[in-house]
Subunit: 219 residues, 2 copies
DNA sequence: GTCTATACGCCGATAGAC
DNA sequence: GTCTATCGGCGTATAGAC
């Protein structure tokens, strides 16, 4: 499913399989499916109409469920749905950055891979990106941190720091480099997600990368 | 007041003064003051806690008013308060861009003046900038357009178009130039407004301008 | 014209029946 | 375990008293 692009769901199912509860697996799988149906429906509605304009009734309808009682069984509160979405998305993102750091050596390659991921997600899972770039989560999840304070971004800033150390990136505050670099990338994607830029995301990718990298590269 | 930096209020009062309703002026001025107190309180609360987390009771308290009935007399609905805020801010912004175009000849000078304005507003009227850059108005004002579709931004894109015509700016889609240029500017300000960048806005201005202009200038 | 009291609707959450 | 019925609270809006 779109919101959890690193197969958190499959991992959960795999874990359960190892417990040899064969006869219960079908039920559990169905429960997991319902669980994810709710999350997916909520993500879409939150991204489209906003958290406060989305009622549990709306989520119930979109998820193909009969009563909101089922939602209350899976998640105690409406806020818990949003918190779970937030957690899944940020965990996946953080995990992706880890993988990217392992597979790429230079800061430029790592940043390039992150940009690739962001553009790919914008095309394949726009609601995930809306949740990341547009939604103001702190308004409905008090304990949530903004994107810029998330684990993933802390790792990205580390990448930038390393790039400055090796001389790939110009000597400057890594936070400022982050602001400039991802200002271009995220704004391009934000304008794509809102329809201001109307071509496919990939169309803007090369130029956005070039402009962003050029803003921080040591010449 | 902070939300209407082009003296819309004074203009309104001036208009009324010309009507020779001398004996009523005091009352009217007080009414206007209450009117603006409500708008200012609403702006601050919307920017801080969000529209949906702000009740009319909250606005009443923050505005130093005794009952919410007064708010209902001035604005029919809560949404109308937000709509009026939106209108004032966008009108002021659009007017500012007009003035900047009159006072400056080149695209670079005009964009530079707009950047100056944005940084100044971020320092002097942060809640106005939060409303412009962070708040998702379409969630509570259905008829509102996003910043990128506003009159002010249309004028800004015209500035960019002219810059491309004169050869100041690199030949590229003006929308893309807008995305890259204001990606850097707005992201810097957004990160300043959320506290990720902790120095005064002016501290980041020169570098942000340089990086943004460099992203679109013809070399 | 200011304020009090209240109406009304919506939604989140619960509990109990099947 | 699934659903129905309902509770309780909040927040907007109104209407009527002073």
């Amino acid at each position: 499913m779109g919101l959890d692009y690193h197969s958190h769901t499959n991992t959960a199912i795999d874990t359960l399989l190892k417990k040899n509860m064969d006869q219960e697996i079908e039920d559990i799988q169905q429960k997991l499916e319902v669980h994810d149906e709710i999350l997916l429906a909520a993500l879409q509605l939150f991204a489209k109409n906003g958290y406060f304009n989305t009622s549990l009734i709306d989520i119930k309808d979109a998820a193909g469920i009969n009563t909101i009682g089922i939602i209350h069984k899976q998640f105690k509160t409406k806020q818990a749905i949003a918190a779970k979405l937030y957690e899944n998305i940020h965990n996946s993102l953080s995990h992706s950055v880890d993988e990217i750091k392992l597979k790429n050596e230079n800061s430029s390659e790592q940043l390039r891979a992150i940009v690739d991921l962001f553009f790919k997600l914008t095309e394949d899972a726009p609601d995930v990106m809306r949740f990341l770039l547009i939604t103001k989560v702190s308004e409905f999840i008090p304990e949530a941190q903004a994107l810029c304070d998330s684990a993933a971004v802390k790792k990205i800033i580390r990448i930038i720091d390393e790039g400055i150390s090796t001389g790939e990136i110009r000597s400057m505050s890594s936070q400022l480099a982050y602001a400039h670099f991802f200002g271009i990338i995220e704004n391009t994607l934000r304008l794509k997600l809102t329809g201001f830029l109307d071509k496919k995301a990939e169309f803007y990718q090369a130029q956005a990368w070039l402009a962003a990298w050029n803003a921080i590269v040591k010449k």
